[in-house]
Subunit: 384 residues, 2 copies
């Protein structure tokens, strides 16, 4: 399917946008999904511990899959022979694939890699075999995976990179985006460009303007989700990029899933998000709880409880009283505590359902607030 | 709920019985399930890797839960406070709990345990703490768990036990059954007796007659599922027990889940079965396949394939073409192979669904054959 974006309403006080991602298949059939949207991540063609039906019950729009991982296992050829990713994993809603760039740089963070104009030489973290990923190869793989949205191959520079390094990097990333666009062959797949540039206003502007000039189907803002990057830099990176992105295309902030960041980013005009955090937190026993806590350094973070804690042994309330997810409707904290203590995977399943639904509920509430021109109120209440 | 059994039709040539397990709750509401029946096992109040909805889609009747495990974690008190096992684990069909006896003897197989007239002293395999399980304690726990069928506490002697040991053991088990029955307090729960006696005709008869004299709600045949016991001994144990069991009560062969054993046991008049094998096989990548293979020693065993094998990398057929399970209807061997190679739990989920449904389909086909008086034909075809 190909995607277009319809901006329905912009909040009066902030940059927050309510709109629709409209997917059209080769036969003209349409699927519509509201934005702001949180996309659950199915790294290896499965959202960890969940069936597609369990994912669907959280009311997502697009889900994500990882080009790098699927390239390595089971390979683009196998997915193609299976009839594409939708068929392979039994997911009939829209799928976005990343370019593999983030994984090449993050999984091989401590390993030798060789970035050339042509592409990136690196070693597989699975078996040490030598791999070479180029912009053309990334697009070719994504064409074969047959996702609905493909991403351009970009360099994800470390947060420590200086202005000069970043300037060279984004210039190369722009050349890579051009090369990828040139070989993009799947007429049933949209292609997004990626804005990089770290925390620098001039670089973000340059990257955004050059990328937009290539007329992609949508734009993402990258390089903001490094663990060691502070939130102010993230928000600045968004603010420096957004003014140069067109109003009639989707804006995607990659790898961001903290509730506070979703709210702050929507306020700045971002439409869609993805993050592995809801399922990763779940596997460690954590459930997201409505609201925000403040750290010792007065930094806002997500509220959460760890169901492994002994205090939940005899707690027969749901994770959250007013949550409408399958886990909260049918199970108690005591039961999930029991499952986590016994290493039963159904515990991670229930927490994954809750955490994904939590972020999707947050986007639903933001949509309502934008429609009612009350987003600023919503934001200050949520962050209180 | 309390259970009764209705014998609807007995096969003309064999001892195979088609019937119904009828569950009646305190308000007179009825749930009926056909037999022969295979019961999926939810050891720790969850059928491993599955949601209750996924279990339900395999069309089971009763499911099992383990008294020993739930006594240790989360404790009978917690389950009772949660409103009983049905409420705790969100399973609203019938539940059978074992007595804990099998686990005391099997989990502590290599550890020191002290069997006295009063009960069994042993150490927890979780934390080494000293535990003492008695017939009264087992029933008290099961009353609190509020399962629909409770089992009497029995000794499970090793397969190597001689006639003299077994004679003492079954006499004690009979005294334990009497003590358990005396303290059984849950008027909304049925209580089954257990026939032991190893491979000895006189002991099986003695155990069956003495146990039946106590008038339990149903009877199980125990001590047949030891790994080192040969199939002939299992079938003999059934043949030596069945003639002394009443026609109007359920007959339950504990811990048996090999397809060949289900067929051979149904032929001898057994109604219900349980086994962890379908979910355990699944977690190791195995899928049951219709029919029987013969080992080098010409022993019949279940047919299976291991989806981890490289030969399934590009196999885009379902696990079994004519299986109606969720896994076979929606996924390929190639996808399940991929999930297993990546250690994604959804692989074990799909294989568990298939394997459980496989055994339940086998019972469905046996029911049809019995109704048509063609069970002997079915059996010889299946075992060919």
């Amino acid at each position: 399917m190909k995607v277009t974006y319809e901006l329905i309403h912009q909040d009066k006080e902030t940059g927050a946008r309510y709109g629709k991602a409209i997917f059209t298949d080769a036969n003209g059939n349409i699927q519509e999904y509201e934005t702001p949207m949180f996309m659950p991540v199915g790294t290896q063609a499965t959202v960890k511990t969940l069936s597609p039906e369990q994912v669907k019950a959280t009311k997502p729009g697009i889900i994500l899959a990882n080009t790098y991982h699927l390239w390595q296992r089971p390979s683009a050829e196998i997915v193609q022979k299976a009839g594409g990713l939708h068929q392979f994993m039994n997911w009939h809603g829209p799928i976005l694939t990343d370019s593999g760039g983030y994984q090449v740089f993050s999984l091989a963070r401590n390993k030798k890699k060789d970035i050339t104009e042509e592409g990136v030489h690196f070693k597989s973290e699975l078996d040490g075999s030598k791999l070479f990923l180029t912009p053309e190869k990334s697009i070719e793989i994504q064409n074969m995976l047959d996702s609905d949205i493909a991403m351009s191959f970009d360099e994800c520079p470390p947060a420590s990179a200086d202005h000069q390094y970043l300037k060279n990097s984004i210039e190369r990333t722009i050349r890579w985006a051009e090369r990828g666009k040139k070989v993009h062959k799947n007429s049933n797949q949209s292609l997004f460009g990626i804005v990089q540039g770290g925390p620098y206003e001039d670089l973000r502007r340059f990257s955004a303007e050059q990328t937009v000039a290539m007329n992609f189907d949508g734009y993402s803002i990258g390089g903001v989700a490094n663990d060691d990057e502070c939130k102010d830099d993230m928000y600045k990176a968004i603010e420096y990029s957004i003014p140069y992105l067109p109003n009639d295309k989707l804006r995607y902030l990659m790898g961001v899933g903290e509730p506070v960041d979703l709210v702050e980013s929507v306020a700045r005009g971002v439409d869609i998000f993805d993050c592995v955090s809801p399922t990763r937190l779940a596997r460690h026993g954590n459930a997201l709880i409505w609201g925000i806590r403040y750290t010792d350094k007065n930094e806002p973070k997500e509220k959460r409880i760890n169901l492994k804690n002994a205090c939940f042994t005899a707690d027969f309330s749901p994770i959250e009283d007013d949550c409408d997810c399958y886990a909260c409707k049918n199970y108690t904290r005591a039961y999930i505590h029991h499952l986590m203590k016994c290493n039963e995977t159904f515990g991670a399943t229930l927490l994954s359902i809750h955490n994904i639904r939590f972020l999707i509920r947050l986007t639903e509430k933001m949509r309502e607030a934008i429609k009612n021109d009350s987003f600023a109120d919503f934001k200050s209440t949520f962050l209180a």
